[in-house]
């Protein structure tokens, strides 16, 4: 089966407080980068998976993202990238 490469971006929903992001923003100010208006921390998950087609890969990734990678109560997720894996990468 062909191999596909994907990246899923998991981010906190806008209504959810992000203390880690706030702490990081404060540290950025101490570094001298003080113009930051908003800083939110999420996760980028890189996945390689086998599937019979691009649509098949997308279906598996949607299931994975919705049920495992993200908690829909507090997080949004987006399939940022989905493409056939090339041999050299």
């Amino acid at each position: 089966m062909p191999l596909y490469r994907a990246r899923v971006l998991v981010s906190l929903r806008p209504s959810v407080l992000d203390p880690a992001g706030e702490a990081t923003r404060a540290a950025a100010g101490r570094l001298g980068v003080s113009a930051i208006q908003r800083l939110r921390i999420g996760k980028a998950v890189e996945v390689e998976l086998e599937a019979d087609s691009l649509d098949g890969a997308r279906a598996q990734l949607e299931l994975l993202s919705d049920r495992l990678l993200a908690n829909p109560v507090i997080e949004n997720w987006a399939l940022e990238q989905l493409e056939p894996a090339t041999a050299e990468a």
Binding site: A20, T24, A27, R30
Partner: protein, 217 residues
């Protein structure tokens, strides 16, 4: 002889270090709040274990920018003895006072046990009370203690004699069984095990006493 003990929001071994120093060894100490900048009168500084600033982003990544640590860097660069224990070791690597980084334990488990260590003091001022090859028992308690460094840098550390403490039974997947690293000058030591928890006979061992007592002589 006065020991400075850095206190971040989230530090939780600061009082253990104070007890080891004052209660067990008669070394006076002073807490340094993370916003303090006054290190006057201090002979050595300890960055204790815990979860500074919640360990947000990466362990030690936010603590690195604390005002007190700017002074600790100056203190270290002037030759002052600095000791980083557990989270303090993570902070020292984020600060760049020690090379490498500490990452999630290989088997993902938080480890909490007594570890056996082999010491090779070399020129490390904190370890001058120990003989080369001596076996020590210090408690460990960490989830992110797997020491990592670029493959071409490890031989440099070894050649410099900077790998001063190694686990006999590697608990976390650290390269070369590294438990503690010293800087080439010998005044900055970082280690994941807790010598301050091996100072009071009531806690099962006193192998850590000579580490803190190195400051006295």
């Amino acid at each position: 002889m006065t020991l400075g003990i850095v206190v971040f929001p989230g530090s939780n071994c600061d009082r253990d270090v104070q007890w080891a120093a004052e209660g067990c060894l008669g070394i006076s100490s002073r807490f340094l709040w993370h916003e303090d900048r006054d290190l006057s009168g201090l002979d050595a500084v300890v960055i204790p274990g815990g979860f500074s600033y919640g360990d947000y982003l990466r362990c030690g990544a936010i603590a690195r920018f604390a005002p007190v640590l700017q002074e600790v860097v100056r203190f270290a660069e002037a030759g002052g003895p600095v000791l980083g224990i557990c989270n303090g070791f993570q902070v020292l690597t984020e600060l760049g006072l020690l090379p490498g980084a500490l990452t999630r334990n290989e088997h993902l488990h938080f480890v909490c046990e007594t570890s056996e260590l082999t010491v090779q003091p070399g020129s490390c001022r904190w370890l001058k009370g120990y003989s080369n090859g001596e076996l020590l028992r210090f408690p460990i308690a960490h989830g992110e203690g797997r020491y990592q460094i670029e493959a071409d840098q490890l031989p440099v550390l070894e050649a410099n004699g900077q790998v001063v403490l190694r686990y006999r039974h590697n608990p976390n997947g650290s390269v070369a069984d590294v438990a503690g690293i010293c800087n080439p000058a010998g005044n900055v030591l970082g280690l994941m095990p807790h010598p301050e928890r091996a100072c009071d006979p009531a806690t099962g061992g006193i192998d850590g006493q000579r580490l803190l007592a190195a400051l006295l002589g």
